[in-house]
Amino acid sequence: MTAAHSQLRDLGLLPRDAEQTELHPDLNRAHVRFINLGKTYDGSVHALQGIDLAIQRGEVFGIIGRSGAGKSSLIRTINRLEQPSSGRVLIDQVDIGDYDEDRLVALRRRIGMIFQHFNLMSAKTVWQNVELPLKVAGVPKPQREQKVRELLELVGLQDKHKAYPAQLSGGQKQRVGIARSLVHDPQILLCDEATSALDPETTQSILGLLREINRRLGLTIVLITHEMAVIREICDRVVVLEHGRIVEQGPVWKVFGNPQHEVSKTLLAPLQHGLPDELQSRLQAMPASSDAAVVLRLQFTGSATDEPDLAALFGALGGRVRLLQGGVERIQGHALGQLLLAVNSSPHNAEALRNRAGRWAQQVEVVGYVV
């Protein structure tokens, strides 16, 4: 937990004026802030507990967690589809806790939202769906038409305006959802598992569109997902939620390169290359004989030009080094790499190998032994 973070927690208990003046400047510029937020259902089920978080203007902020971790509840407190039980939500430094219907309606028009199941009106055409938020806001027809046309163009669906949602593919439906969420020129876009019902290819195109919107319109995107791949693709920062609490947070490359919490590791597992099955079956916890190979897993995080010097690494390990698996991913200009090595007939024992490899990697793990 960072210093600013704990400071935030302390200050959440102070009266508002004191807090306004003493806060860290970054926090005063925060677009969305949660202060000691809690949500309890039926008096006993804690969906959210002690959430302190600041989301900066213009960033793509990811909230990840397993199902039931409280992601949905958390994102919904931003537009008050969910009423927090305790704590506060500040948008542009304004507490939205006591908003009445009029102010909530105005607030929600500044915040767009898209959904996992798109939630388009089945009885309305694409055009009518996108037009609806403007219509209920009393925007005159000529402006409505111009805005709808503009947005359908942005999402690439201008030729589908007469279609009904049932006639569209999942990706097209989500594009309509995105167009609809942007008609009021919001400053914040909430994405509730927006790609979870889509196939991988469509997911990529929707994420691409979201990134483009983030850059072109400069709006803050808050997204929740249970897929690490989505976070890697577009997020700047991420928090990991478990049982309604924040268990880990930071820039995406850091959390990816060096996950601290068990949940983060579990969520990352599908993205990491595990041992090949064939090797896994032969793996032993203790060396069966003196000529057994030591299997090492090296993980490194660095700037993009910082990949380890393999010749030097192999030299330091000594003996016969075989590469079992390896890969480098680039996230936000950082290289995240993993090497899986089997070392035979080295003069060093497993512990010494681990220490020696440590010069090139942040994390070295002795996975086991194979004959």
Binding site: L81, V105, R108, H117, N119, K124, P133, Y164
Partner: protein, 214 residues
């Protein structure tokens, strides 16, 4: 002579069913909307009022039409001034049809995906916007289907009303067919009723299909 009587009977039946179903439609939809939105978790949450109204609707729904008609005679006299004829039949028919239709419409309204209501709230809809732009349009095909069922049920009930003096096809079938053993008139009335019901069902189904974009 008997042909004129049949035409008059058919017109009476249409008038009875038409007027009372129109009232049932106008009262039943707001009633259904209220039953849905005032329920726990609804957008106009008022559970106590919801239960009272729900119980009231159930009360009228559980009384067989024949008995309801007789029980309502004093009320009917108060409203239309007579207990005989087409207009007197409209009162019990309306009172039977409204809760019936409201319950069917309620089911359609409840089937509207909660996600759509959430999306509407998120885009800045007020509560009446949600009713007008989301709940009613999304439930419309189901409501049309429900109204078709209501119409058919009311033709059934109107025949019963006919038997106690309201006029219409039921009255003719009862007097000529049952009391005078005039099989020809009886069969003609049956054919007319079958045609009427088939036409309503066909029209309703077609309209519901056109409206359903899912």
């Amino acid at each position: 002579m008997w042909f004129d009587r049949l035409v008059q009977g058919a017109l009476d039946t249409l008038l009875m069913v038409g007027v009372s179903s129109l009232i049932a439609l106008l009262v039943g939809i707001p009633l259904a909307v209220f039953l849905v939105t005032s329920d726990k978790g609804g957008i106009y949450q008022a559970p106590a009022l919801n239960r009272v109204l729900g119980a009231f609707v159930n009360l009228f729904r559980s009384i067989p039409f024949l008995i309801l008609m007789v029980a309502l005679i004093p009320f009917t006299r108060l409203i239309v001034g007579t207990t005989y004829g087409v207009w007197a039949a409209v009162v019990p028919l309306t009172i039977a049809a409204t809760p019936f239709f409201a319950r069917i419409a309620e089911v359609s309204l409840r089937e509207v995906d909660h996600g759509l209501i959430e999306a509407a709230q998120a885009m800045g809809c007020r509560r009446w916007h949600i009713i007008w732009h989301v709940l009613l349009p999304e439930a419309l095909p189901g409501i049309v289907g429900g109204f078709t069922i209501t119409l058919v049920t009311m033709i059934n009930s109107s025949a019963m009303a006919g038997a106690i003096g309201a006029g219409g096809l039921g009255d003719i079938a009862y007097r000529y067919g049952y009391q005078r053993f005039d099989t020809q008139i009886m069969l003609t009335v049956i054919v007319l009723l079958v045609i009427l019901v088939a036409a309503i069902q066909l029209g309703g189904d077609r309209l519901a299909r056109v409206l359903n974009k899912r």
